[in-house]
């Protein structure tokens, strides 16, 4: 290879081949900081969790809305009655975690897509992550620390308590 620059009789200007360094910076990929494998894992997770959620959510909806008295049956007692059973506890816990992570990751994708500025993107994602964590932690605590048989100040079982509390 010989020299690029023109040093002959004409004014020399080392000019780059055009339109290779001339790309609108908006399009330059800043050497991906986040490893691709994370995106792959997220992608797989969306599918796996989605498939699981179909079962979890459909059963949840059926039990809550379509059997018995439907929407009218839902009250404190109903919830308490369900969570007395560890299967339902686990069920709702799985649903909570999977749905929040699935939905949270979905929202992350959407923010990545549409946030125009890096700072906006960062803010939105921070809010997202925070709310996902708060909700997951809150929900988990509720499910595990739930006390179905509440007593009122006089020590009587509350009216809304599920029937099994009587037997305790």
């Amino acid at each position: 290879m010989t020299t690029t620059k023109s040093d002959a009789l004409l004014p020399a200007q080392g000019i780059e081949a055009p339109r290779s360094g001339r790309i609108d910076p908006k399009y330059l990929r800043s050497g991906s900081s986040k490893s691709g494998s994370f995106e792959m894992a997220a992608w797989v997770f969306m599918r796996v969790s989605g498939a699981a959620l179909v079962v979890l959510i459909f059963v949840h909806l059926t039990v809550n809305l379509l059997v018995g008295e439907g929407i009218h049956q839902i009250d404190f007692g109903f919830v308490a009655g369900k969570w007395a059973n560890p299967v339902w506890q686990f069920w709702d816990l799985a649903m909570l975690w999977l749905a929040m992570l699935h939905g949270g990751n979905g929202m992350r994708t959407i923010i990545n897509d549409y946030a125009e500025k890096d700072s906006t993107r960062m803010w939105l994602k921070s809010i997202l992550y925070l709310s996902v964590i708060v909700i997951i932690v809150l929900g988990t605590m509720v499910i595990f620390t739930f006390e179905p048989c509440l007593l009122d100040s006089s020590g009587q079982l509350l009216e809304s308590s599920p029937s099994f509390c009587q037997n305790v």
């Binding site: 290879m1 020299t3 040093d7 004409l10 020399a12 200007q13 081949a17 055009p18 339109r19």
Partner: protein, 595 residues
């Protein structure tokens, strides 16, 4: 004005240009200037195949291939060049395969080959399978593969840079016998950046021209809008002669009015040409082989039907390709491209309707004269140091007066490679030639004049008139009368061209301006072609003179050489000096060309 300095500058990024760039780019500091993004080049339109005597499916050898090429060109082929091409064809195909080209394969996994018009075993005994192919998009695959390898080797492309001037310097040289002559030397090129209208000068030790063909001289053509004879015109204006410009190949079956090519395979599969009366007219012109007669004969027969009033359509200006007697399944299996083109572009359903077709300008056999090393000649044998040409723009001459199908894709690979190697090798030892003073003056004056013109002539009007007169007078039938008619029109158009006015006054992407420049190339080359046709008073290959219907080896077994020469005057046209160059013979004596 910006100045760049490269060892090698390649003008054009079609098959020939990129094949050269792959060689030169690995050996010398190389730039490729192209007015189109490389993958837009018209090499990508080629369908049929690329010939090489690989003998993968049946017995074959390069000597038979040479013979077919010579005979196909009606013996106007330089036989040494044809030998080089046929011999190197094998490596050319294997090179492409190793670069990744996805050829179709035989059951054993070798490159598959198929038959193509004019390619025979043992000097015409029977058709031979010689064309290597990649489905019906061989040219597309060649173009893509070459581009891919340019990316691999980091070739520097200047995309959408129009080369508008070739810079040469004349030097007086004294021969041994004391006489002197002017030796041309290559200094570089001037180019125009479409994106912003800036002029760039490229100083180079070697310049390779690979700018493709000239189809847009004609109205009906299979060529792209961008094939406007640029390279030929630039060389010609720089004082380089043009060889065999009268020979243009017209392909019989172009979609009527559009010129889009329908491959010969249609007739091979049994399609029939008919006139408005439904008559299978080829029975009259070629009673034995009918529709499968050679391209030039079929094209002429079709044109004759139209001329005698038996054309179909509202303007009676085309004939019909009838496939309706074939099974739709068969058409689908064997001719998918044809059915798709007919449906998309003419809205014709080939199962039930005949397809309107007419001969279409397809290929320029002539061009910038070179020797087998792709070195450009400034006369019959003086090489211009540092100037190379390859591909359709060049005339080696391997196609003589009529190119065989599949030999062009071969030509661009063999001579593209040779050009790249030679250019790099020359640049390794040569010195830069000083750029002449004011190198951009010509280009800038031309562009400024066009920008400022208020003459009121429209590029498109002039171009249409040129194309119409060329279709009417210089197509498959020519005679002194029609040629002179064309010359008169061209002369008039050249005057009017001075008044061309453009509407786009901007700097960015001013294609309006460049179309006007391209029209100048078309007019120059149309004139050269017409004058060359006037001089060749015989019929041979693609050139058919009604007033001289026979081949005349005695007087015309010669290449024509047309020089720009303001002092010369020929038959009413000024400025073109006609000369000839002997044809090179090695082993084959001219015979009558019949199949």
């Amino acid at each position: 004005m910006q100045v760049h300095k490269y060892d090698v500058v390649i003008v054009g990024a079609g098959g020939a240009g990129m094949r050269a760039a792959i060689e030169s780019g690995q050996r010398a500091h190389t730039a490729v200037l192209t007015k189109l993004y490389p993958t837009r080049s018209h090499t990508g339109a080629a369908q049929g195949g690329m010939c090489a005597a690989l003998a993968n499916v049946e017995e074959d050898n390069w000597e038979w291939h040479t013979f077919d090429t010579v005979k196909g060109g009606d013996y106007l082929v330089d036989q040494d060049a044809a030998e080089v091409m046929a011999k190197e064809a094998i490596d050319a195909v294997l090179d492409l395969e190793k670069m990744g080209l996805p050829f179709n394969r035989t059951p054993e996994g070798k490159i598959d080959q198929r038959r193509f018009g004019g390619h025979t075993r043992d000097h015409g005994k029977a058709a031979v399978r010689r064309a290597c192919y990649a489905a019906d998009r061989t040219g597309h695959m060649i173009l893509q593969t070459l581009y891919q390898n340019c990316v691999k080797h980091n070739v520097e492309f200047y995309n959408e840079y129009y080369v508008l001037d070739l810079l040469t310097v004349d030097e007086e040289v004294t021969r041994e016998d004391g006489t002197t002559y002017m030796q041309k030397k290559t200094a570089g090129v001037v180019s125009y950046d479409l994106a912003n209208g800036e002029i760039h000068v490229f100083q180079a030790k070697s310049v390779v021209f690979a700018t493709g063909g000239l189809g847009k001289i004609f109205k009906t053509t299979s060529n792209a809008h961008t094939l406007t004879a640029d390279g030929m015109a630039l060389a010609y204006r720089a004082g380089i002669p043009l060889e065999d410009m009268e020979f243009v190949q017209f392909h019989p079956t172009g979609l009527a009015g559009l010129g889009i090519l329908l491959s010969e395979a249609a007739r091979g599969e049994g399609a029939i040409l008919r006139n408005s009366e439904g008559e299978r007219f080829m029975e009259r012109y070629a009673p034995t082989i009918k529709d499968l007669a050679p391209r030039d004969i079929v094209a002429r027969s079709m044109a004759n039907e139209v001329r005698e009033g038996r054309g179909a359509g509202p303007n009676k200006d085309y004939v019909l390709l009838d496939l309706t007697h074939l099974e739709p399944a068969h058409i689908d299996a064997k001719l998918p491209d044809i059915t798709e083109f007919a449906r998309t572009y003419l809205g014709v359903e080939p199962y039930t309707e005949p397809v309107p077709v007419f001969p279409t300008c397809h290929y320029a056999m002539g061009g910038v004269p070179t020797n087998v090393n792709a070195e450009v000649l400034q006369d019959n044998d003086t090489v211009v140091p540092g100037l190379y040409a390859a591909g359709e723009v060049a005339c080696v001459s391997v196609h003589g007066s009529n190119r065989l199908g599949t030999n062009s894709l071969l030509d661009i690979n063999v001579f593209g490679k040779r050009a790249g190697l030679a250019a790099a090798e020359y640049a390794a030892t040569a010195e830069f030639v000083d750029i002449p003073e004011n190198p951009t003056a010509f280009t800038e004056n031309q562009l400024n004049a066009m920008r400022a013109s208020t003459g009121g002539e429209r590029t498109s009007t002039l171009r249409t008139e040129l194309q119409e007169t060329m279709d009417a007078n210089m197509q498959v039938f020519r005679s002194e009368e029609t040629i002179k008619e064309a010359l008169a029109v061209i002369a008039d158009l050249r005057l009017r061209y001075k008044n061309v006015q453009i509407q786009d006054k901007g700097k960015r992407f001013n294609l309006d301006l460049l179309e006007a420049v391209e029209l100048g190339f078309l007019l120059d080359m149309a004139e050269v072609m017409t004058v060359a046709a006037l001089h060749r008073k015989e019929s041979r290959g693609g050139h058919y003179r009604e007033d001289f219907p026979e081949r005349d080896d005695e007087n015309f077994m010669l290449h024509s050489m047309m020089y720009l020469d303001p002092e010369s005057s020929t038959d009413g046209t000024n400025g073109i000096r006609a000369d000839t160059k002997p044809v090179v013979f090695t082993r084959y004596e001219p015979m009558e060309r019949k199949y």
